[in-house]
């Protein structure tokens, strides 16, 4: 894991002192609310429906047990004993007070964490594949790149008042688990024909009101040119991105309106005039950062584990957990364990402070002191010995964290929606809860197989509904919550946006509709266990359309 050096430490500490001082000037009237707003947003503090909300960055989703314990302590001391893990590898507290915010930031700084640029019209928390350093299909660990970008973008004098927020994601694997195609900039670490490692740069993806898949603007950027090239993109965006309409201000609209070719030409022109050598960092500095992410001290273990096999043979619940929640590790004898924050009937992504402490304890004992936060709102224990999975599982059961549903129909992404969010047009969480209850039977979930349901409480799409295999968007129809269903979205390698199935339906009808969609899929799928998304791609939406018709009018009439 990255460790701050004296410079990083000073920046974060000074940032806390600066915010304390800014709060003081807000209270004494020197700063108006309008002026203070972007300052508090760039320190992660929103004003939400019931209270302020503080969003803490978990850069590229990696944290250790000490940091997780501190998050728990903050939840207890300054919030209501829980936190919400988001789709962008952040944690949010729902009830902090403005007067306490500087003290909370101080506590975060104590464990090398911060809220810098988790909101506002600036470069946001950089996200990465949650299986970084674990997956066998990795060209290179994406986290050194993400950390480099984190540092370069921190308090960037030119790019702190952009037309709109700006999100960057990095993946180093063949399989894209970071949804790079739907970010303002997506970065894929690739190898060229000569075997050199570099970056494919994708710009202009995004969800929200106008969902778009990003365009590749550079097939292969040499690794040591990254920062200058990013600087060129940001400059073009800062100068030319629209500022007349906040719904058209993201870079995706600029790329779309100019056309990819013209956009690329502008970027290349700017790139040519920039002083690359002074912007790009010395390879020795890159190596310094990368060294922090060197593989931990793995033991030489045999493939497989008789201990685990025997335990799983004795306990069907463990066996199910192993089947569903384990991801293969590149090292023999190890595995990555997904800890689902989606218990049946619980708010997706929420964890209590006790659960956070339990996770910290488990990670410290069994996962080389490392945890990951995923954009699917789950936690990953990345380096668990197969032999110790039974102990990990028992500890998770104890903490109420052993739901065996990773990647299944009840592993639902849901944004906070109208229960917390001031921008919401409808609730998300209760919809997720009701759907999960319908599919509570673990056998049924396994029969259905991989299926991602994603729910957003408004067009801003924080729940990524456009790229849900089943997407649900909550809207306001004349004061009543109304839900639009889309099918066929996918965030991965073959990124696609879901298509609308038909007119919106009321909240009470959503669980029925989802059940009927799943039933229709089970009837249509090929016998070889064809997945939901593959089936939708093969048959299209038509066979699913009848599910939105009112159910069984005949019986009602009888």
């Amino acid at each position: 894991m990255y460790r701050y050096d004296e410079f990083d430490e000073r920046v974060v500490r000074q940032r806390v002192a600066q915010f304390r001082e800014q709060v003081g000037r807000r209270i004494d009237g020197s700063l108006t609310e309008e002026e203070f707003l972007p300052l508090r947003l760039m320190n992660g503090l929103y004003l939400q429906l019931h209270a302020y909300m503080l969003r803490v960055a978990i850069p590229y989703g990696t944290l250790d047990s000490r940091q997780m314990r501190q998050l728990a302590l903050i939840a207890d001391r300054y919030d209501r004993g829980y936190g919400h893990f988001t789709t962008r590898q952040n944690i949010q507290y729902n009830w902090p007070r403005l007067r306490d915010a500087p003290d909370i930031l101080e506590m975060l700084a104590d464990v090398q964490m911060h809220c810098i640029q988790t909101s506002g019209n600036c470069i946001r928390n950089v996200t990465a594949d949650h299986f970084a350093g674990v997956a066998a299909d990795e060209v290179e660990d994406p986290r050194p790149t993400a950390e480099l970008i984190r540092q370069w973008s921190t308090l960037h004098p030119e790019f702190s008042f952009l037309p709109r927020k700006f999100k960057i994601a990095v993946t180093g694997s063949a399989e894209d688990r970071a949804a790079v195609a739907v970010h303002d900039i997506g970065i894929r670490i690739v190898r060229n024909a000569a075997g050199e490692v570099g970056y494919r740069i994708i710009v202009g993806g995004g969800l929200g009101r106008t969902p778009m898949i990003g365009k590749t603007v550079r097939e292969f950027l040499p690794k040591d040119e990254l920062l200058a090239y990013l600087e060129a993109i940001m400059r073009v965006y800062n100068l030319e991105g629209r500022r007349d309409n906040k719904f058209k201000a993201r870079v995706k609209i600029l790329v779309h309106e100019l056309g990819a070719e013209a956009f690329i030409a502008r970027v290349e022109e700017e790139y040519a005039r920039l002083d690359g050598p002074s912007l790009n960092v010395d390879p020795a500095e890159l190596a310094r950062i990368a060294a922090y992410f060197a593989p931990p001290a793995f033991e030489a273990l045999p493939e497989g584990s008789a201990v685990l096999d025997q335990a799983a043979a004795r306990d069907p619940d463990l066996a199910r957990f192993v089947r569903v929640n384990l991801y293969p590790h590149k090292m023999p004898g190890y595995t990555a364990v997904t800890v689902s924050l989606k218990p049946i009937g619980g708010p997706p992504g929420d964890a209590t402070s006790d659960q956070m402490r339990a996770l910290a304890d488990i990670a410290e004992r069994f996962s080389l002191d490392e945890l990951r936060v995923t954009h699917i709102q789950n936690i990953v224990l990345p380096h668990v010995k197969l032999d110790e999975v039974p102990q990990v599982w028992a500890a998770l059961v104890e903490a109420g964290l052993a739901s065996a549903n990773a990647g299944l129909v009840t592993d639902i992404i849901a944004c906070p929606g109208m229960d917390y969010c001031s921008l919401a047009t409808a609730r998300s969480i209760p919809i997720a809860q009701e759907i999960a209850k319908r599919f509570a039977d673990p056998d049924r979930q396994q029969l259905v197989g991989p299926l991602g349901i994603k729910i957003s409480g408004c067009i801003n799409a924080c729940g990524h509904h456009h790229v849900g295999h089943i997407g649900i968007l909550g809207l306001d129809k004349a004061g009543i919550e109304n839900y639009q269903i889309t099918l066929g979205g996918d965030p991965g390698n073959e990124a696609s946006l879901g298509e609308r199935l038909g007119p919106g339906i009321d909240a009470e009808q959503v669980p029925d509709a989802i059940e009927r969609i799943v039933d229709t899929y089970l009837e249509l799928r090929h016998a070889d266990g064809e997945s939901f998304i593959d089936t939708v791609r093969r048959v299209g939406l038509d066979p699913f359309k009848p599910v939105l018709q009112p159910k069984e009018p005949a019986r009602a009439a009888a």
Partner: protein, 112 residues
């Protein structure tokens, strides 16, 4: 109507406390934490007065993000926000009835 986009009558003036972020309602002499204590504008003249207080509050910046919100008055005389968003905002999350003003109210109800 002069203000085409103004919330319909009857209405209350609401905002968020600057230091705590709590939802507050204009209560005549100050700002209260509970909707039941809110002052209600029932006619155009009162609404105009509320609009003036709204503008003053905005200029002062404390409490923050003030706006007018339509309510109805139910059979028991209690104020009920017209829109589901405002109902949730005035009570607390529907998925956590132990949090927000609703928890406070429940405790009061228990003690009655």
């Amino acid at each position: 109507m002069a203000a085409g986009k103004r919330a319909a009558l009857p209405l209350v003036l609401t905002a968020s406390d600057l230091l705590d972020g709590d939802v507050v309602f204009y209560a005549g002499a100050g700002w209260a934490r509970g909707l039941d204590e809110a002052a209600v504008a029932a006619d155009e003249a009162q609404a105009a007065q509320f609009e003036a207080i709204l503008a003053e509050t905005e200029a002062k910046g404390d409490p923050v993000a003030p706006y007018l919100m339509t309510v109805r008055i139910d059979a028991d005389g209690a104020l009920v926000p017209g829109h589901v968003r405002e109902r949730i905002r005035s009570r607390g999350p529907t998925i956590r009835t132990d949090l927000g003003p609703q928890a406070r109210q429940e405790r009061q109800h228990v003690s009655v």
